[in-house]
Amino acid sequence: MSETAHLQVRDLTYRYDPEAEAAIDGVSFSISRGEFVAVLGHNGSGKSTLAKLLNGLFLPSSGSVTVSGMATSDAGRTWDIRRTAGMVFQNPDNQLVATRVYDDVAFGLENIGVPSGEMPGRIDEALRLTGMLEHADRAPHLLSGGQKQRVAIAGILAMKPEALILDEATAMLDPQGRAEVLDTVLRLNRVQNITVVWITHFMEEAARAQRVLVMDHGRVVMDGGPKEIFSRVDLLRELRLDVPPMTRLAKLLRERGVDARLDVLNVEDMVEEVTRLCPSCLKN
């Protein structure tokens, strides 16, 4: 195993039952410490199954998953693995248990037997990192969806994870909530060097990752930087996926005889591209 591989997946296959088609079908890849990797794929492509294999909620039918050097199949390490690679799910209402934000973050720490003297410091730090410290005394059910997800993330952070796995954590949020959660996780990645696996349907979110994995039929079919991935507009469409709107615009320009680059991910890129294509188009 290479020294830097933080999450290592080797020849991984997973079947929900022995007779069924493989939900994950011979997948290998490795993710380095501190990487931010987005995983794309249509419903049923195996994204969520992969997420649950990455922190040992599911165990491989064959092949292996290693987290910080620990194999998820090693039953003695299950709790270490779940603490090392924390998972955030889609529905913000199913993840919070306490009647106060602070207690919700404390809940996980009590479960893993953190000494009570150490708890307040860790809870405050986790709430500060997610921008939720000022809401510590509020009732979780009164928070917005984005705030609830940030509390769920704080609950994991308090356990000092090395990786975060987010399974469509923004799918049920409004645009503001989505931005709050993504910005929080991007910051944790940058500042705390936490490895992130970000599973999503939103192409604009994937465009902000360092690396994108595309899944189809339980296999990883594309793996590269977002510019490289999204410029393959036709292949993505075959895989029942979108591209970000500005990449689609670049494609439409090409169809109209303009030699636009396809690795345009956002509005700022497109302004630059139009300026490059036609410096003389500016009104005088």
Partner: protein, 286 residues
Amino acid sequence: MPIVLEKLSHVYKSGPHTSHALRDVDLTINDGELLALIGHTGSGKSTLAQHLNGLLQPTSGHVLLDGQDINGKDSSRRALRFRVGLVFQYPEHQLFEETVYKDIAFGPKNMGLKEEEIDARVREAMAIVGLDFSEISKRSPFELSGGQMRRAALAGVLAMKPQVLVLDEPTAGLDPRARDFLLEDVRRLNRAGTTVVLISHAMDDVAKLATRVAVLEKGALVMDGSPLEVFSRHERLGAMGLDVPQGFRLARLLREKGFPVSDRCLLEDLAGELADLIKGGSGHAA
């Protein structure tokens, strides 16, 4: 069958606390339009939607359907609910029958229709949303994919043949293909004459589909116009925490730099204009 909201207000009370979910909303929803209702979370969109078929009653003001107050004494709210079909957020959470067929038949059965009519409506509704009758009608709704469950729930409302269809965030949580299927269903229904009220945060979808956009802020109607009119007020929308479609943001940034580009709702139209500009511009010496 226009729906007219007159000075519609709704106040939620819980204990000593009251909150105005809607304040004096005046809005007419015309036959055949596809009205998008947008606003920040908590702006009152879903509360408004639930007034359209009498699920909620106004604290003050009126909801008129064909000129008749739906909450009036002589009005049959039951009959009205069948004319205005409401598809909630995550409607698949409300699937409950043991087969897809029974689930879709539930509404028409409640309407007291005959067995043959119910059967015809279930088949028709499934065809509209693209669910294969022979393959899917006898299956449990819980065996379906997320996108199929959503379409089955929509079919259950369509089987009541509503004249007005109200959809609250219909594409939330769907993958791109399932989303495109569903939006195509909505567009087809609208073209066939069904009035549609679409509540959505997805501004690119709104730009693509809507014939008119109404904006709620803190329970008040603050904008009402064509998508082009509403989205060109991007600064005001931004202050409310609302996005504009990326094509609008691009056009604005290009104009600020000095490119002569207009606001467009569809990326296809924007691409056409940009292509003409670039091809024309690069033909001349700068």
